[in-house]
Symmetry: D2
């Protein structure tokens, strides 16, 4: 079928490629003409303006946005101004599900269907397929089924998921509920992702410290001694360990596959400084947990560790040192390079 894609960054462009490969017609638009030209060269239908973009869509017009969350809302509005009742707008970015609920209600009054799609897969999606979590009205979601089926990984011959009740879940896409449900499920997905990543990072960090007993340790009142150095004499090959865990262990996962690969290429991870960004979904997941009274200490710890890596704990840490000086006369030790 014919579908429009607006926003041709890494994600949007690769999704167009995957759609083209499977025989769909893609009208593409981006504020950067070079991005449009590149995909036209691969078989997409280019457009020079938003009007042009909408004009080239068939009836009902289906336009998929793949834009940064901060500019999605305003572009949905511009697009909607050019569309008619019965048309469909799909937001495949990382919008807050609150915005979906609000935007869908607003567009519903014009007869335009709004669909939110949480999209996981990252830079591997072109090859591996994208996991799609979909929210919105039933009929519109069903209409777009061929698009979702192409973008998703498709059946990897998994008997487990064959049951009817699970609908398309075993194919890698799922209609999760009304507007907002797609991004809600994707939001929680990312919250879990933070927790899993932190579990591996903490564990690998402990493995790395397994040779602490071989190091000299300062002996002063400000340094807690290592109680049993004789038990910390292991030089663990972390690349090898992350590899062996991929085969038959309880913690094998796709994240572990990537971790093993990263450690193989650069065991010291010297390309990184340790400032870990977060892009919002982990925060929103916690907001939802707090609103609904669900304890989420692991997801919170994972998020807060990122905040610390970004420098967010600095004033609090200074205050702790100030208190220690005030009650105990403890002088702060200088920060050392690790």
């Amino acid at each position: 079928m014919r579908i429009g894609m607006m926003g041709l960054g890494r994600m949007g462009a690769n999704m167009v490629r995957r759609l083209l490969r499977d025989g769909h017609e893609c009208v593409v638009y981006d504020i950067n003409p070079a991005s449009v030209a590149a995909l036209v060269a691969e078989g997409a239908i280019g457009s020079a303006s938003l009007d042009d973009f909408v004009a080239q869509l068939k009836q009902p017009a289906c336009a998929w946005l793949m834009l940064p969350a901060a500019i999605t809302g305003v572009n949905v509005d511009k697009l909607a101004a050019l569309m008619k009742a019965g048309d469909i707008i799909i937001d495949g970015g990382n919008s807050h599900y609150h915005d979906d609920v609000d935007k869908a209600a607003q567009l519903r009054s014009k007869g335009i269907d709004y669909i939110d799609v949480g999209t996981s897969g990252g830079v591997w999606g072109l090859e591996r397929g994208y996991c799609l979590m979909i929210g919105g009205p039933e009929a519109a979601v069903r209409y777009l089924d061929p698009v979702f089926a192409t973008l998703a990984p498709g059946n990897e011959a998994d008997a487990t998921a064959a049951s009817e009740g699970l609908r398309t879940a075993h194919l890698g896409y799922l209609h999760c509920g009304p507007s907002g449900a797609g991004h809600f499920v994707k939001m929680v997905h990312n919250g879990i992702e933070y927790g899993m990543m932190a579990a591996y990072a903490e564990g690998m960090n402990i493995l790395k410290a397994a040779n602490s007993g071989n190091k000299n340790r300062e002996i002063d009142a400000e340094t807690s001694p290592l109680p049993t150095p004789e038990y910390y004499k292991f030089d663990i090959d972390m690349a090898a360990v992350s590899e062996v865990w991929r085969h038959g262990s309880v913690i094998s996962s796709w994240l572990l596959d990537l971790t093993a690969d990263a450690l193989k290429q650069d065991p010291a991870l010297s390309a990184y400084g340790g400032r870990v960004s977060d892009s919002g979904e982990g925060r929103w997941t916690l907001d939802a947990a707090i609103d609904t009274g669900v304890p989420a200490p692991v997801l919170a710890s994972a998020l807060f560790q990122r905040f610390s890596s970004q420098g967010g704990s600095e004033f609090g840490d200074k205050l702790l040192s100030a208190m220690r000086f005030a009650f105990g006369g403890h002088h702060e030790k200088p920060k050392t390079e690790a």
Copy 2:
């Protein structure tokens, strides 16, 4: 090759079966004669006593113990008393790596090699192969290579791991270092496992609460109101969501495969009451983190949530209610069935 297996519980018996299938000779022993008889019927060589067990091993005698940690030490000692210099004892259970370090030193003085093997794979290992994390002297580990190769999953045709440097990691077994290194790596593996499990559990719990806005909520000074009920109107099909995440998402994993399967069979998880056991390794992982000054808030949170589920927070919770009454006159609400 011929190897002895002592301790024929679920893990030990299945490992014997996997070894027999691949042509090894297994001498088996257990305090329960029926367990011995069952494996003899499948081709193993039975033994009626520990003496008998050792007598039937070839030179060097190789005996693998698959016993609960609490009784492993004493049985290693009994076994060692019957063995000669050059023989090998393998502890494949969940012993503390401190005990390995100590036991290896003790046996080394008799010329007996001691090898610790952290074994992951659970009830699926017979079919899927066991991930083996091995500690101990190089020569003895190399001698047992055929046994490890059989028990481990073997190469699942993974190009990533082909490099020489990773030795046998891509086959699912790895010599991690000297005595204790195997159980150390397995301990951290389990710590990570706790963190990953908790990440999924917290996330799914938030998904379940996505319909909180549809529920009536008590309005009183002791209940924090749900601020925006209009955004919590989703009835998420958790079995379907866990299934869709298996296909192309960043959080796909073997634990997620099992989770999806469990939710498919019993979406309400009505077979469970929510008392989550822990078997020690998560605790030891934290001990190591604390000893070496490595922050592990995610692994700690995961462990402490299990302690809470076991009732461990009760006195502390009562004290919190007592304080709230003392400063604010707040009366405790009765515990309700969830």
Copy 3:
């Protein structure tokens, strides 16, 4: 000066009493006439309706609301409809500071000043004085100074705080900034309160477990053994310990005073079941931390432990047990009475 008090619950009524004692004139109103009558008997000026209440206030009319957060907004609106430019409304309850910012802007357009006052002191405030955290326009705050000075504890002869720069902080009340600043500071105050309470609760819970080595422990694969029972043979008298800490230790505090008193009266805390409520501010504090990228793992852990005590972790815990069964065949142990 003359001031109106609307909402004569425990907090409101005691604040009237403290104001009357110090010579202020208080006009009082409550939907419950008996509450009005009780304070009239103690010297307050009663009112039979909201109109009557406002009519009896002098110019500028100053009305203090001490109502549950859920009904504060609507009552502010009703009150404002009866007031003139130059009048002052004070919200002394536990409103969300967002609502203050919004409400103040709305009332400003009518010329009415809105002041938010975070009030700490609980049931002890009548005797001890209330700690007041104040937000709103400078002139109105200054106009109400005599009221704040009466409600606050007043100078407890503390030389530390004598400096001019701290204004009235050493008297127990502080103009923290524009509208919303008072409730923002109070919100964080309560977040800290949760963290401190949890620190004591966890510590006392560990003290209580100091005799674990004297107890029989089940020996099975689902119970992690106590590694060194010989070191857990202490029967700690928790009432005595909380008392001794009040004298000269680093952790002495008013909360500890209350804790010591509660343990003295009921060392087993048998009056409590351990369901710990939270009333919103702890949640909002975390929302602010998450919005601004400030790590708050301690405050989060304290809040989440309350959620767990309220039953919020139940589905997640069941899922953990389901996973353990799925990979390891572990059967859940029944929940036991602690």
Copy 4:
């Protein structure tokens, strides 16, 4: 009475001064002769060697050690070699309670009583008195009562604590149980201290961020946007807030007194870099919680935040960035000066 003090650092020297003031005779010893001379000038009895030190003690000889934990054990042994049955050794330092249990058993066989005293009060103890948590045999503890009574704060006229059942707790010293109980209680005290300090630090850090809405924020895919900048426009005077909380609020405490004072002197805390040391007790408290199955998420979070401030999370943070690059092509942002 006459008592010996070995180890004349800040704590030991001040304790001697407090004892001398109250009329006790103090024999003092330190490896640094200048430390001895200084106290002799203030009325203490000096000693030039360990033999000399013991020789000047009366019968029964009572020697109090105030040494770093790392060298306490060996000095107790040296001292014990010079002492007789019926003599008493008191360890007032920060020893691990395991060592107390072991050492007491060893000395008991020689007839020497060993008493462990957890001592809180820091640099303020000379003036304010020390809070003493005491473990050891009843008779020896009773014999030393005059010494404890002098070192402790004494009754601050607190009616609450007058009951007989609490023995001497209201005076600021308490016999907590057999050997080890004193340091066990002190250990937990310090664990709580970490949690309280972190609660204040996190809260103050959130207050500091209350003006985030006034700052420019980078707009890129690696920076989560501040959702409602209009609600983060407060410039909070943190010195004033910490002062006002001291008067009538629920979170008033001695640590808050010190915090208020520190912020008054240096509101930006520019003297500190934010590397927060830990001296062992927080770690041991967690070890005890883990051993006994008591959830302690707040105490753990407080400790782990210190580890992070010491650089302990670095490798883990790098691994998180490596994973983000691997699945999403996310490039790390440079670390910025806060």
